[in-house]
């Protein structure tokens, strides 16, 4: 059984007991424990069930690589699934539950999958669920969804907050082991701005547990001194509990700092997402021990050898009373020695190698530990925990030589460098035959913007596993040459062992787990190879090897070695799968940061915004703007409010906040020339004081934006754009000006936010302005499609006589700072004339009644002005303009194009938004042919019926024809094609 040792435990504080619960069971641990250490201290060997076969699973590792020991953490707003117990720090009051079982961890019905495992091989789902087709949706998918997945999805809103932070440094050192510390020391002394981050709460990595000496001091002492030196350097920043999730182009690194995971509810942000820009990155990310593939290697109690000594040394936890050790290298003997020194039994060390002569094995032998060479585990015995092992010759097929009772197994298959940060941005790897791992190739690093190496690895991440080599490599990585000396025992070469015993028959291979989290076994990878999956990327997807939340930290190398063997290819030729960010999962909350709720995105507010809110406007987003949709009164629905606003505007006078309208000044000797290229019609000959409606197209000829242009003076034009289009159109102008016609003398300025603009619309508009007093707004002094500067009610104003509603209308711009006061003055002046504000929906209805198009409704990037009967706004005289050549293409000039018409349901109802008009016959895919679609559809309160605009083949030549259009329920309605101008076709109302 696993238990807490009476003595030791360098990271725990025995004076600070902590209570926690696992599946409702109360347990005790100490401050400094990880949850995994505390569970083991309470003899909780069984911690979860596997993904596919629901096999019992225990803790395998002691760090980020843990595949099995994932739990649901917390409750309510702090519930989080798939939390690794090995990286979760214990705190008083922690609650967690195990995952993927029903009804309980001990008795799980899903374990029947284990007994039919032979019928659930790799690709089972792909092969089984193809036929019959209907069964997938109605039978298979619901069952698979019910049983798949590990943790539960949180149900409540996250109770915590998260934040972003930005940092810039010359050098980012990732990993606070001795390599990272040494690299940071060198760079810090050289005066560089250094960031040193460590994903755990502790510095020094494995060095203390492994008992090495540096510069004649115990590692613990050297680490303490190094830290002290670094803390004393003003140019060095240290961050612990900070994981480098990803490295991106040109030194952009995303780091996830876990501030309050272990102190929930203390008021601090739970995580801080650092966006670091580093001149260079040193990845001192260490190495991860590989498991060995032997039958029963997933039974709870089988652990990585290094993890086992971590538990003993760091947390004084004994994973078992009697531990069998199985290895192919010298390092695992450290575990044997550590266990023996802690007073625990090591019945035998099974070493697959034939010759075992290193210092550590010799020391183990001298301590009286039995060492068997050329031996392997034939099979681990036990169910929910290990009860013993059967021993065989490694060279054979698994004939049992001896059985030994034990309650834990420590395995070591060698070490693989953690190369994720190196590989994220394209660093290449070499296969190291002697250590049987992929290590960074320093000749092919990921590159920085200046062509230098963006990432350099240091220490074990470079494949340097011995302490002396680690320090030399780390010193060189940081540009130093004076490395500390280390004293560590001589370690003899390891020998690659991919399956154990090497001749294991299929019965054994079916019990050898490669990826315990996704339940992928040696036999699955071999099956994939037999079925033709020769590429490692395909095998990964077919078997799901390495696709679990641990991303194959333990399984990938073993898996591709098996694949290479099955394909009879060398391992480097098979290669690795792509390393993708993040290194360990980053919670969505951290990625979202503060961007949620009201501050999800930036908001643009007009100067009149607060009035809208105070008057209960229902707001809608328009780009980043918030605009009033309508102003519902007590008891009114939104629809009723819109109808009232439209009727009042037609009958009396309405007021619209049009401040969002784009306003761009184009000025200079060549301004007219530029506008003649940008607009489809001629703008250079527009008279000073006049307004003209204009269209802009892309080079392909498609309609992109529209608006009214006003000629201000000889060299100045003011271009109005759509509300959503001002930034885009300004950028478009600048693009042509800077990159194509850079010799033209023109300046542009986007002055959208400098002005508040208010539309005064309706038969009483003139009376309202006259009441306000100021400039002459009479028909004679201020005709339609002109503009004037002057005063209105004491405000400096620029008024345009333009109309987007068909009514008598003035759009008046005043300086933004005076916008709200001007709005209030207009409301006061208009009160006696029945003035009411109207919103964007009213604006839409008013324009649709007049058949005016709206960019984004009538256009979608495939529509040319000619489709919208706007040929009159396209100059025939101009030699060229943007889009002219595009519109000359045969398809755009075809008479078969769908063109704008008005549409009315015969029964007067409102046609569905986006409805299509079917045409006879089917297309090549067996789908119904179409001949048109609706682009805008509203109920017209003015006409008392539904009105719509749409694009229909043949366009206005078909006026009067009745066609069918779809309803949402799939049935059809009868619709008459009519003129798109539904109201005041002769424009008598606007020209008064």
């Amino acid at each position: 059984m696993s238990t807490r040792l009476a003595k030791g435990g360098r990271l725990i504080d025995r004076t600070a007991p902590q209570e926690f619960t696992f599946n409702g069971k109360r347990m005790k641990g100490f401050a400094g424990d990880t949850l995994a250490a505390a569970l083991l201290a309470n003899d909780q060997i069984l911690v979860g069930r596997s993904f596919k076969y629901h096999r019992p699973r225990g803790i395998v590792a002691s760090g980020a690589e843990e595949p099995n020991a994932l739990v649901n953490m917390g409750v309510g707003g702090r519930f989080e699934p798939n939390q690794r117990t090995t990286t979760t720090e214990l705190f008083d009051g922690l609650t967690c539950t195990s995952q993927n079982h029903w009804p309980s961890l001990e008795f799980d019905i899903g374990v029947v999958n284990n007994y039919v495992a032979r019928f659930l091989p790799a690709g089972f789902y792909y092969k089984t669920f193809i036929h019959p087709r209907f069964a997938w949706k109605h039978i298979f998918e619901p069952i698979v969804r019910q049983s798949a997945g590990l943790g539960k999805v949180p149900k409540e809103r996250d109770a915590d907050r998260y934040e972003y932070a930005y940092a810039f440094c010359d050098l980012l050192v990732v990993g606070g082991g001795i390599a990272g510390l040494q690299a940071a020391l060198i760079a810090g002394r050289a005066g560089k701005r250094v960031w040193l981050i460590e994903q755990t709460a502790h510095w020094g990595g494995r060095a203390v547990v492994d008992g090495v000496e540096i510069d004649g001091q115990p590692a613990e002492e050297w680490i303490k001194n190094a830290l002290q030196a670094l803390v004393g350097m003003g140019n060095v920043t240290l961050r612990e509990r900070c994981m480098a999730a990803a490295s991106y182009d040109h030194g952009y690194v995303l780091c996830d700092e876990r501030l309050a995971d272990h102190t929930p509810g203390d008021g601090r942000p739970r995580h801080r997402l650092w966006r670091v820009r580093a001149g260079q990155i040193i990845a001192a990310t260490g190495a991860i021990e590989r498991p060995l593939s032997f039958a029963g290697n997933d039974i709870p109690g089988v652990m990585l050898a290094s993890a086992m000594r971590d538990y003993v040394v760091n947390w004084a936890v004994s994973p078992g009373d009697r531990t069998v050790i199985v290895t192919n290298n010298d390092d695992a003997y450290r575990t044997a020695i550590t266990l023996k020194e802690a007073g625990l039994e090591v019945p035998v060390v099974l070493d697959a190698r034939a010759n075992v002569t290193g210092d550590l094995p010799q020391q183990a032998r001298a301590m009286g530990i039995r060492v068997e060479v050329g031996r392997a585990i034939a099979k681990v015995k036990g169910g929910k925990r290990v009860t013993g092992v059967a021993i065989c010759a490694h060279a054979g097929q698994g004939a049992v030589l001896e059985e030994i009772a034990c309650d834990a197994v420590a395995m070591s298959g060698g070490w693989s460098p953690v190369v994720h940060l190196w590989s994220h941005c394209g660093g290449k790897l070499n296969w190291d035959e002697s250590q049987a791992h992929f290590a960074p190739d320093p000749a092919r690093p990921p590159l920085n913007h200046d062509g230098s190496a963006l990432v350099v690895t240091a220490g074990a991440a470079s494949g340097r596993l011995l302490t002396g080599d680690v320090l030399v490599d780390a010193t060189a990585a940081a540009g130093g040459d004076d490395a500390p000396t280390a004293s560590a025992p001589f370690e003899a070469a390891m020998e690659p062992v991919w399956i154990m015993p090497q001749g294991a028959p299929v019965q054994l291979r079916m019990k050898m787990w490669l990826d315990p989290q996704n339940d992928v076994k040696v036999s699955d990878v071999q099956l994939a190879a037999r079925e033709g999956y020769a590429s490692v990327e395909h095998t990964k997807r077919y078997t799901t090897l390495g696709m679990a939340t641990d991303q194959g930290k333990l399984s990938n190398i073993n898996g591709l070695a098996i694949l290479a063997d099955s394909l009879s290819s060398p391992i480097p030729q098979v290669g690795t799968t792509t390393f993708r960010p993040p290194y360990t999962p980053v919670t969505i909350g951290a990625l979202a940061g503060e961007a949620r709720g009201e501050i999800f995105q930036p908001l643009r507010r007009t100067p009149i915004h607060d009035w809208h809110l105070a008057n209960r406007a229902y707001m809608e987003p328009v780009g980043l703007w918030q605009r009033p949709y309508c102003y519902p009164r007590t008891g009114e629905t939104h629809e009723q409010a819109v109808h009232r606003e439209v009727r009042n505007t037609r009958a009396n006078v309405g007021l619209l906040d049009a401040s969002t309208l784009g306003k761009i000044i184009v000025k200079g000797p060549d301004a007219g020339k530029l506008l003649d290229m940008l607009y489809t019609n001629v703008m250079s000959n527009l008279g000073i004081g006049k307004c003209r409606y204009g269209l802009m197209c892309s080079e392909q000829g498609f309609l992109s934006d529209d608006g009214v242009v006003a000629r201000i003076d000889e060299e100045t034009w003011l271009c109005h754009t759509t509300s959503g289009g001002s930034d885009r159109i300004h950028a478009w102008m600048e693009d042509w000006l800077q990159c194509e016609w850079w010799d033209w003398q023109v300046y542009t300025a986007n002055i959208t936010e400098q002005f508040a603009q208010v539309a005064v619309v309706g038969p009483n508009a003139r009376k309202t302005l006259e009441r306000l007093g100021g400039m002459d707004v009479s028909k004679e002094a201020f005709p339609f499609m002109t503009w004037k500067d002057g005063e209105l009610g004491g405000f400096r104003a620029r008024a345009y006589r333009i109309s987007f509603s068909g009514e008598l209308s003035y759009e008046i711009a005043v300086p933004a700072s005076e916008g709200r006061a001007f709005w209030d003055a207009l409301l006061a002046a208009g009160a006696e004339f029945g003035m009411m504000p109207y919103g964007t929906e009213g604006l839409h209805v008013l324009r649709a009644e007049k058949g005016f198009i709206m960019i984004g409704d009538e256009t979608d990037g495939t529509v040319i002005p000619q489709d919208l009967n706007l040929g009159w706004a396209i100059s025939k005289k101009k030699a060229d303009f943007l889009g002219k050549r595009g519109q000359e293409r045969p398809h755009l000039a075809s008479p078969d194009r769908w063109k704008l018409v008005g549409l009315e349901a015969l029964d007067g109802s409102v046609i569905a938004d986006g409805a299509y008009a079917p045409a006879p016959g089917n297309n090549a895919n067996g789908q119904r042919n179409t001949q048109g679609r609706v682009t805008s559809t509203y109920f017209s309160p003015t006409l008392g019926k539904g009105i719509a605009m749409g694009l229909v083949k043949g366009g206005l030549t078909r006026v009067g024809e009745v066609i069918e259009m779809t309803r949402l329920d799939g049935s059809f309605m009868q619709v008459r094609i009519v003129d798109p101008v539904f109201y005041d076709k002769d424009g008598e109302k606007q020209n008064v």
């Binding site: 913007h449 600048e734 693009d735």
Partner: protein, 107 residues
């Protein structure tokens, strides 16, 4: 998240400050051009694994467009230069040739 130096204001700008604009040094064909020329101008784009000339705008900085020569495979930036030109500066071409002897030239 590239870093490009804006040749107008001199800022080492990161990608969040920049707006991409596709391939550089396209010759515009407008009204009256042949179908072939217009098609090339509108649609034919290079997609090399290696040296590429592209347009960027320092959109959230000085607002100026500029051009950059960059390796699409390694992300190495050979240089940036103002947009008011129809071909890359000679010294930049020489620099790229020195670094990428197999490069076939910018056209």
């Amino acid at each position: 998240m590239l870093i490009l130096e804006c040749p107008c204001c001199g800022v080492m700008a990161e990608e969040t400050e920049l707006a991409p604009g596709g391939e550089a040094h396209l010759k515009r064909f407008g009204a009256g051009s042949s179908d072939e020329d217009f098609e090339t101008y509108m649609f034919a784009r290079k997609n090399p694994k290696g040296v590429h000339f592209e347009r960027w705008r320092h959109a959230y900085g000085c607002g100026k467009w500029f051009l950059a020569a960059r390796c699409t495979a390694t992300l190495e930036v050979f240089g940036t230069y103002p947009a008011q030109t129809t071909e890359p500066p000679a010294e930049l071409v020489e620099k790229i040739k020195a670094k990428r002897p197999d490069w076939k030239g910018w056209k």
